[in-house]
């Protein structure tokens, strides 16, 4: 079988085809190439079981975890989008991790609270995130606004905002107004690619409701209101 890899050697990008035997996962295919054909092929991996988030790449234009996806003849593999490529499939994730800091996604003030199995459900999914960056790569907002907090940071902010142990969700809500919940186009691309079935789009919608309850409003709507207020 033949797979094509979009490579980058520090100065230029180029396509390279590899002929390999059938293997179980895409990650195994990449290792097969590295170990037997071309040791310079560069990609990230770690757990090989879908939990460390290191191995996310594009397969035929869609984000996948290399260790948790199969590989077929004629597949084209490329690095994630909206990330600086370091080499081949290895990308720089430091900027995306910065968004976590800006989103203030952590428990601010612990409050004694007796949780129940139902409370566990409130943020079970959101806390399954493995920080693979697939959603970031799929989000069209980054094409126009590189400061956008992005799907995984917002889902993580939501995780803490709805945690009953959070005694200061206001600080959390505050932090996601700028380049945050209102900048999302609700296109759902993030939700479609998440390997952990997290739904950042819904989380963002829910964060918008929480923001409104906290007295914030949609800045896009506000500018529209200014435009029409003269007629009322």
């Amino acid at each position: 079988m033949k797979i094509t890899i979009n490579r980058f050697n520090g100065t230029k990008t180029y396509k390279k085809e590899f002929h390999i035997d059938r293997v179980t996962t895409l990650l195994n295919a990449l290792y097969h190439i590295k170990e037997n054909i071309d040791p310079t092929l560069t990609f990230s991996s770690g757990c090989r079981s879908g939990v460390c988030g290191a191995c996310a790449v594009m397969k035929n234009g869609k984000e996948v975890l290399a260790c948790s996806t199969t590989v077929e003849d004629t597949d084209v593999i490329a690095p994630l989008r909206y990330h600086d490529i370091q080499k081949d499939l290895k990308v720089d994730k430091s900027r995306t991790k910065e968004t976590l800091k800006r989103a203030n996604a952590y428990l601010h003030t612990y409050k004694d609270e007796i949780l129940t199995a139902n409370d566990e459900k409130a943020n079970e999914r959101q806390s399954d995130c493995i920080l693979c960056d697939s959603c970031y790569s799929a989000c069209p907002v980054f094409a126009v606004n590189s400061d956008f907090l992005g799907p995984f940071s917002l889902s993580r902010a939501y995780r803490y905002a709805v945690d009953k142990r959070e005694g200061d969700s206001m600080t959390l809500i505050n932090a996601i107004q700028q380049n945050g919940v209102w900048d999302c186009t609700l296109c759902g691309e993030c939700t479609a690619v998440c390997p952990q079935n997290i739904d950042p789009k819904s989380d963002i919608l829910n964060l918008r409701s929480l923001s409104m309850q906290a007295g914030f409003s949609d800045p896009n709507m506000m500018s529209m209101n200014f435009g029409t207020s003269g007629f009322l």
Binding site: N9, G10, T24, T25, K34, E35, N36, P39, T40, T42, F43, S44, S45, G46, C47, R48, S49, G50, V51, C52, G53, A54, S68, T69, T70, Q86, K87, K90, K93, S94, K97, L100, K101, N104, A105, Y106, L107, Y110, D112, E113, I114, L115, T116, A117, N118, D119, E120, N123, E124, S127, D128, C129, I130, L131, R156, R159, Y160, D163, R165, E166
Partner: protein, 536 residues
């Protein structure tokens, strides 16, 4: 100057970093990957603490179970410290916001945490977050570390400690981005670099990077290693891929069956016993399966969503309808850097070790499931406290000798390809000779073979590679460490002429009456293996 340099950013490293930072120290954490790309995220089953939420339990029972599993090699004092600190450790995680699984109608925050039974435990003692316990703990610690603005430097790979006459003053790293050697100096250094299960390449549940880098560097700097022969084999990994199927599958009532459908062992006996029973079946040419079909899809989806997914992708089966083909596999390394009760590395000053890279006396000859996550968080805090008390001493070392790239990398003509063949062959050889059942002949043959691997490795070169952002260079360093550690493992396993816990010698199937530990250090440039009789 940096107060504390912590190397490794998983459970042990981040727990230590948070404590140190909370106490106001100037902390730097250096790690070879991103923190969340550490092996800790893979832990599924749970973290032990005698909270007694589901059934009556006490730290005393926890201590008893842990001591028993250690087969007389555990350090009673350290085990007591660990088990007594467990409830408080869970409380710390609760306060950081770890999203544990819950039970209803609890009367206090801590008593709402769900607990399950893991092998070797007399009670339902493992707190969990579905089957993502390690993931959720590590990510929560990471969020906290970002909130505290801890200086985390990723893609720095430890090469060696900087030390003179056993006094450690920092460490040398391979900077993956610049392809250069960088130095970080600090008053105290904490190693939290994880275990060495990945040297059994292809036969382990461990992440690729668990090659014992920190353990190797501690030995080279003059530190002592202990119990390196004790490697835990997990009874149930998927047969071909060696991906883990968590013990919680058996804890919840899963069966182990042979190809005729017969159960052949108490599924919740200690890991070493279960692993050997499975291994013996396989040695007879039989296949062994895990059967959780009776759970039904609903329960599987709820309790072990991750297992369900892993079975599908790596074995192509649906565990609610089919038997899961399994094999025992390398899972945890009990041995490591010998530390005292303050986590100071024996033989070194200003340097501490914690987590799977250390041998702190809590696991002995066998580790209980759920005790490792506990160890990394609880002792991470303790190690930081010790390091914090060692900040006044000035240990500036003058003219630390100049290091060159070719001290670490072969830059002579040649190519690198053979390192991957070596890695594979080494993994297979270790699994076969230093595996579940060992004997002198097999171990000695492996040592000879190892010399051949080393010879081949010396011919491998990174010349001709563009080393910036190169994963081949990191692989090269990891495989070099693997070869180094393999030798220590084999020699320690030869030295222990008895069977105990996870170390089973078919030529010495019984335990000796008096327990002893095997330690490794470098004396006059040579590896020295010694046996210490224990006074327990």
């Amino acid at each position: 100057m940096i107060d504390i340099l912590i190397i490794g950013a998983a459970g042990a490293g981040l727990s230590a970093a948070l404590t140190a930072k909370e106490e106001g120290a100037n902390v730097v954490v250096a790690t070879k990957r991103l923190p969340t790309q550490s092996q800790t995220v893979m832990a599924q089953g749970g973290i032990n603490a005698a909270l007694g939420n589901i059934e009556e339990d006490s730290p005393a029972l926890h201590i008893e179970d842990t001591l028993k599993a250690s087969h007389s090699l555990g350090n009673k004092e350290m085990i007591r410290k660990l088990c007594e600190k467990a409830p408080q450790t869970i409380e710390r995680l609760e306060r950081y916001g770890v999203p544990f699984s819950r039970v209803d109608n609890a009367s206090t925050p801590l008593s709402s945490i769900a607990q399950r039974k893991l092998g070797g435990a007399s009670r339902k003692r493992a707190c969990y977050a579905q089957d993502y316990t390690g993931l959720k703990i590590l990510h929560t610690l990471y969020d906290r570390a970002l909130a505290m603005d801890i200086d985390i430097r990723s893609e720095l790979m430890l090469l060696d400690l900087i030390s003179q006459d056993g006094k450690v003053s920092g460490a040398l790293f391979w900077d993956i981005a610049s392809a250069d050697i960088v130095t970080i100096k600090a008053k105290s250094v904490i190693l939290a670099t994880g275990g060495f299960g990945a040297i059994y390449h292809g036969y382990t549940t461990n992440a690729y990077g668990s090659t014992g880098d920190g353990i190797a560097s501690a030995l080279r700097a003059g530190g002592v290693l202990r119990s390196m022969e004790f490697v835990q084999f997990h009874p149930t990994a998927l047969k071909e891929s060696h991906i883990l199927i968590s013990e919680s599958a058996r804890g919840e009532g899963g069966y182990l069956v042979d190809e005729d459908g017969n159960r052949f062992i108490d599924e919740l006996a200690p890991r070493d016993e279960v692993a050997r029973a499975i291994f013996n079946k396989i040695a007879e040419g039989k296949s062994v399966y895990l059967d959780i079909r009776h759970f039904g899809i609903k329960k599987i989806e709820h309790l072990m969503p991750q297992e369900l997914h892993l079975c599908k992708i790596h074995a192509g089966i649906d565990p609610s309808k089919e038997l899961i083909p399994i094999s025992p596999t390398v899972h945890y390394t009990m041995g490591g850097i010998a530390v005292n009760e303050k986590f100071e590395i024996e033989g070194l000053k200003n340097c501490y070790a914690v987590g799977e890279c250390s041998e702190a006396g809590v696991h002995g000859a066998n580790r209980l499931g759920g005790n490792s996550l506990l160890e990394i968080v609880a002792f991470g805090e303790e190690a930081a406290k010790s390091a914090l008390s060692n900040l006044k001493e000035s240990n500036e070392i003058k003219n630390s000798s100049f290091v060159k790239k070719d001290d670490y990398l072969n830059l002579a003509d040649g190519d690198i390809k053979d390192i991957y063949a070596i890695r594979k062959e080494l993994g297979k050889m270790l699994f076969e000779s230093a595996g579940i059942i060992r004997d002198e002949e097999g171990l000695k043959t492996a040592l000879e073979k190892l010399e051949e691997f080393k010879g081949r490795f010396e011919k491998c070169s990174v010349a001709g590679l563009d080393t910036i952002y190169s994963e081949s260079v990191t692989d090269y360093i990891e495989i070099k460490n693997s070869l180094y550690i393999a030798q220590i493992l084999l020699k320690s396993a030869i030295a222990r002429k008895e069977s105990r816990g996870a170390h089973y010698r078919s030529d010495y199937p019984k335990s000796e009456e008096k327990a002893y530990t095997v330690t490794v250090s470098i004396k006059q440039g040579n590896l020295s293996i010694e046996m210490d009789k224990k006074e327990n």
